[in-house]
């Protein structure tokens, strides 16, 4: 089955070079297993490439698995196949760096380890604080935290809030699929299971096995504003999103300020601190201005049709304060609203009782949302969880604010 990797045979150097090339791509972040390396060697032998062009397209067919990878592949290809000797040297220089990158999470973990050790030293102090809180207010810290705004919390309180967020689950409404699953009181009949059941008993009796359409969670897409005005809330919300991303499949997370960044892959890491560090690396416009219209437009244009399929539910986290005074925002919101099943706008400014839909951005966005909910503290997140579990008619939600 396996091709000969004998370096003495003609073309033996080929396998070696392909292997080095694959390692280069892997170091650059493409996911390429040994199976693809083997495929690639075989493909190159088969294609009998005399032209550089054929060589390129053969490798690209085997090694690329999505179009976004092409720029990286192109660069690597140009550098590597110009002079493999040169690249061997480069690899020697590059690989330790790649290892260095891989080792980084461990470093972070060790940082966390020291944090943990440090924290263990003073549990008394923390307890004291709790007692104090309990004395001042008649409900538990948990309750206090639930009410307190994210932006008025101290570091210790934030840490605790993060812990609570990690336990919070978001029960989105289920959607019915067209696929059937066994259900004792289902309206449909599963003939195949019925016959099997019948034969198990000798074919004399035919007990009916019933089925009903199965229900699944719809894909969840989150668009989170990370501009300066959202700063205290966005950080907390990212922690919540991390918990959510690791809790279920089909969650895509985007953040935007002056530009749109997809941080789904970064959030996928199980360890919340590593995930946050990666997110921080990926975001270039943290706490900057806001261009909601332009970012939503980019989302609609580049991502909308790729992530909003299959009855997706869209959460938009933003205060609606737009630098460009809501220019072009209405149309983009409308498009977004039409391409998803449910659009929920979470706005931290809603905590103020006198909130009015004054800013142009808010006014442009309001007509196109299904629900409009506050998200400034833990309690509001818990409310959100409840609200999502029971979808209400949209006009009831909106009237209070528009």
């Amino acid at each position: 089955m396996f091709p000969e990797l004998d370096s003495a045979a003609p073309g033996g150097r080929l396998a070696e070079n392909v292997m080095h090339f694959a390692r280069l791509l892997r170091a650059a972040g493409l996911r390429i297993g040994p199976d693809r390396v083997i495929d690639c060697t075989r493909a190159l032998e088969l294609a009998d490439c005399n032209r550089r062009e054929d060589w390129y397209w053969t490798m690209s067919a085997v090694l690329i698995s999505r179009e976004e990878q092409r720029p990286i592949f192109d660069q690597a290809f140009r550098i590597f196949w110009r002079d493999p000797k040169l690249t061997e040297k480069m690899m020697a220089a590059l690989l330790p760096r790649a290892h260095g990158r891989a080792a980084k999470p461990e470093q972070q973990q060790s940082q966390r380890l020291s944090d943990a050790l440090f924290n263990q030293k003073k549990p008394e102090e923390q307890q004291e604080q709790q007692v104090e809180l309990d004395a001042r207010l008649s409900f538990s810290t948990r309750e206090v935290l639930q009410r307190m705004d994210f932006d008025t919390m101290s570091a210790a309180e934030l840490a605790q809030a993060k812990k609570m967020l990690a336990q919070l689950r978001l029960p989105l409404p289920l959607v019915r699929t067209r696929r059937l699953e066994a259900a004792p009181r289902g309206a449909r009949m599963d003939l195949r299971a019925t016959l099997r059941q019948s034969l198990r008993e000798g074919g004399g009796l035919i007990p009916l096995v019933r089925a009903a359409p199965s229900e699944i969670h719809p894909p969840l897409v989150v668009l989170c504003d990370i501009s300066g005005s959202m700063n205290p809330y966005a950080r907390m919300f990212l922690h919540f999103l991390h918990a959510l991303t690791n809790d279920r499949d089909r969650v895509s997370v985007f953040v935007f300020g002056t530009r749109l960044t997809n941080i789904t892959r970064q959030l996928r890491h199980r360890d919340v601190d590593i995930a946050m560090a990666r997110v921080a690396d990926a975001i270039k416009d943290w706490s900057g201005g806001t261009r909601i219209g332009a970012c939503l437009r980019e989302f609609n244009w580049r991502w909308g049709r790729r992530v909003l399929g299959q009855n997706a539910c869209l959460l938009l986290v933003s205060d609606g304060l737009d630098r460009e005074a809501g220019e072009g925002l209405g149309e983009e919101m409308q498009r977004m609203h039409k391409s998803c099943n449910q659009l929920i706008w979470l706005n931290p400014l809603l905590r103020y009782d006198q909130f009015e839909a004054r800013p142009a951005g808010v006014r442009a966005m309001l007509p196109h949302v299904d629900r409009f909910l506050p998200v400034h503290n833990l309690k509001s997140l818990i409310d959100l969880a409840h609200a999502l579990a029971r979808p209400e008619p949209r006009h009831l939600e909106k009237r209070a604010w528009s």
Partner: protein, 304 residues
């Protein structure tokens, strides 16, 4: 009459050309590899760039049967792979009863045998004889859900389908598989890993002109040049849905039907609906923008 597979990239390229499919050499390379190494070809790209057409062309030029599996939400094994013929099975049980058949094992063996099996596209694709394996087109895989993708893994890597009641259906010769996706969601890496990936892009002006020459032969050469120049410019505009090759061909045919030999702003405005399928896009282009693009396209067509 089944024909043998091409021997090299050039032959593959020629083969596509004989069926009026104007392909890049890059596509020929990917196709040749997938034919020779018996791997599925995974085609991704915007709607209307000719992904499905590739499978049809392969089937036609190689003289193979084309088996098409159109994916949709909720597609399950019963519709994609195989199903038992329940009513016949029930009759069989009654007959066995009437005949006084007592052996349970014998009965279940009779019931779950080949003659009660209804084969659907995936199972039929595994039935090809040597040298005459059919072309299996799994169209718009992104429309199904993840569980179906997972089911495909067995078919696409081992060329077999496991039927719990009887055993395994295995292909004597693997079918030629073409998988297409419009990218309305990402297909899992596990599926992509088993395939050769090819991104079908919009063609450049020269290739699009060649396509028009073959697919809309009634259009005058000058008109075709203008049409291509116009569409190519349109693809540079920031539109929500860019027109694909299919739209270009439709539009050229539509202009021929209107007896136009050259582009003029009014006709373009009236027929924009053939090219653009979103109202926002049409609003944006209709009027001044269209006039400007027509002017540019005309001068470019003359220069070419």
């Amino acid at each position: 009459m089944p024909r043998a597979l091409p021997n090299c990239i050039d032959q593959t390229h020629e083969l596509l050309k004989t069926a009026d499919y104007v392909a890049d050499r890059s596509l020929a390379t990917a196709l040749y590899l997938s034919l020779t190494m018996q791997r599925p070809l995974f085609l991704e790209g915007e709607a209307g760039v000719g992904k499905t057409e590739i499978a049809k062309v392969i089937a036609q030029t190689l003289g193979r049967e084309l088996i098409r599996l159109q994916c949709y939400e909720g597609l399950d094994i019963a519709q994609a792979a195989y199903e038992w013929n329940y009513s016949r099975q029930m009759i069989e049980i009654r007959l066995a009863e009437a005949a006084g058949e007592k052996s349970r094992d014998q009965l279940s063996q009779d019931i779950f045998s080949e003659k009660f099996l209804v084969k659907r596209p995936l199972a039929r694709a595994l039935e090809g004889a040597r040298g005459a394996a059919p072309v299996l087109l799994i169209d718009e895989l992104d429309r199904t859900d993840e569980p179906f993708e997972a089911y495909l893994l067995e078919v696409l890597s081992d060329w077999q389908i496991t039927i719990p009641e009887t055993g395994t259906l295995k292909a004597a010769e693997p079918p030629i598989v073409v998988v297409t996706s419009n990218r309305t969601r990402e297909i899992h890496d596990a599926v992509k890993r088993r395939c050769f990936y090819y991104w079908v892009d919009y063609p450049d002006a020269a290739r699009e002109l060649e396509i028009l020459r073959r697919k809309a032969p009634k259009a005058a050469a000058a008109l075709s040049r203008e049409v291509v120049a116009f569409v190519q410019r349109l693809r540079g505009v920031d539109l929500f849905k860019l027109p694909g090759v299919a739209e270009t061909i439709d539009w050229a045919n539509c202009l021929v039907a209107l007896d136009r030999v050259t582009l003029d702003p009014e006709t373009v405005n009236n027929t924009l609906g053939v090219l653009l399928k979103y109202q926002d896009d049409i609003e944006r282009i209709a009027g001044e923008e269209a006039t400007r693009l027509v002017g540019e396209a005309k001068s470019a067509a003359v220069a070419a």
